[in-house]
Symmetry: C2
């Protein structure tokens, strides 16, 4: 991979990078499309990163389909597919971890305390291998984006970290590799994430600025679905991810809701 990158850079080609954990869906494909528009060469990585899963989480059953993924990569015009083994990226005696401290304590950091340490570590490693000019991440994992953007700036990685819009199923569910875990009833009720965010946006458009009230609107909407168990509903400042009392300036409204063992994320950024 490093040789490929060195060769392309020696030809003055710009490199776009789309890091994924595989099981590609239209959300990933939108990142590839954007990368192709903005770079000479697009590198896709598929790596199910063990260090971002806690022992009790779904690493072992995370969905994978390398044949389909590589076909989709080819069809979407990816120039290079990077598909390392876990023991290549985490050899014996591996012991180096990157913490983006304050940002990792908010939102998902509360229920997944070491998750973003694993994310920051693997992305910094991949940045060192791929040396991209631009790297593309989906807004669905908004906290992940802000952490990676901060990490890249703090560690002086020479990369522009780009956030791309959430891609949704026709009925509004945010695309996620984990959606396959949902049974039909859960799948139906999972629409409440998107719908509750729409209601929050409507209220804000109508003038609501009180964060507690906005969160109450979301909670009421989700609570109508008996299979939904709310992990968090938060209104935070973008960039810092610190909770806000008033909706003012760019504000991330973020949800995590569990259906059985499946934890789904959704969010919207409002700019008032």
């Amino acid at each position: 991979m490093k040789e490929y990158v060195r060769f392309e850079k020696s030809r003055q080609r710009t490199i776009g990078f789309v890091p994924t954990m595989g099981y590609l869906h239209d959300g990933h494909l939108s990142l590839i499309k954007r990368s192709k528009e903005e770079n000479d060469v697009t590198v896709l990585s598929i790596f199910l990163n063990p260090t971002q899963f806690a022992p009790n989480e779904d690493l072992s059953k995370y969905p994978r389909d390398f044949e389909k993924d590589s076909r989709l990569a080819l069809e979407s015009g990816v120039d290079a597919l990077f598909y390392p083994k876990a023991e290549e990226l985490y050899p014996n005696n591996y012991q180096t971890y990157i913490n983006v401290e304050a940002l990792s304590r908010h939102l998902c950091g509360k229920s997944r305390p070491d998750h973003f340490r694993g994310v920051a570590t693997i992305v910094s490693k991949l940045f060192n291998i791929v040396s991209p000019d631009h790297a593309y991440f989906g807004q669905k994992d908004a906290q992940q984006y802000f952490i990676i953007d901060r990490m890249a700036k703090d560690l002086n990685h020479d990369v522009n970290v780009v956030m791309c819009p959430i891609v949704r199923e026709k009925d509004g569910l945010a695309m996620s590799s984990r959606n396959v875990y949902l049974d039909p009833q859960e799948r139906q009720q999972a629409l409440c994430l998107y719908r509750s965010l729409e209601k929050a946006e409507e209220a804000i458009t109508a003038g609501e600025r009180n964060a507690q009230k906005v969160k109450a609107i979301i909670k009421e909407s989700i609570d109508q679905n008996p299979l939904a168990a709310i992990d968090y509903i938060e209104t935070v400042r973008t960039e810092t991810l610190e909770p806000v009392d008033e909706i003012e300036g760019p504000t991330l409204i973020a949800l995590a809701v569990k259906f059985g063992k499946t934890r789904l994320l959704d969010n919207t950024i409002v700019r008032i």
Copy 2:
């Protein structure tokens, strides 16, 4: 700095890098010499890194002399001197830190628990800025070398981390910017670090393999100096820095000894 590196790389020039905290002495100059022998271009950085000092340590009084340093850099043939400000490398809202976990707990890690987190972080940042082919560190700070070497491998930095021999004053004291802190009496007694290591080497050459006995020889030799307060005397495996009971295979014998507030390091690597 990044532009300079990009330009030199575009001309296929290899880059050697010598990161320092300034107040250059012959130890630093030996690193520059080695870098010039092995690379087309040598970059020297001078940055007194605040994140590797604890609040009670000597950051504020650490010796500095930029005029002399830049003259020595010029005379020794450095091609580029990188001299960033603290607020450039640690801007507002900085929050990303790198831990090399197991290696940082041994030796100096016990009395300086966050020191190597600061070291690993700044060196990874500098590697991302300077993109060196080779980076040079002195054996005097042997634990620092092994941590940086591990960090560079773990994070996939594309750099060869090189350890250079300890450079000593004529009477044997290992060169260190901190030697200027010593008063004449302390300076005289500080020779006990080197001399005790010589005695340990003699004993090992004569057949001693028991680590406790080797450490006792060192302790006895140092204890003859009333101003010397031992922080640690350790015999550890190189690479892992784990304590050994028997001197067998490459073994680092490392000391930290305080004279008043001044903490001095010295070490030797024996290969049996």
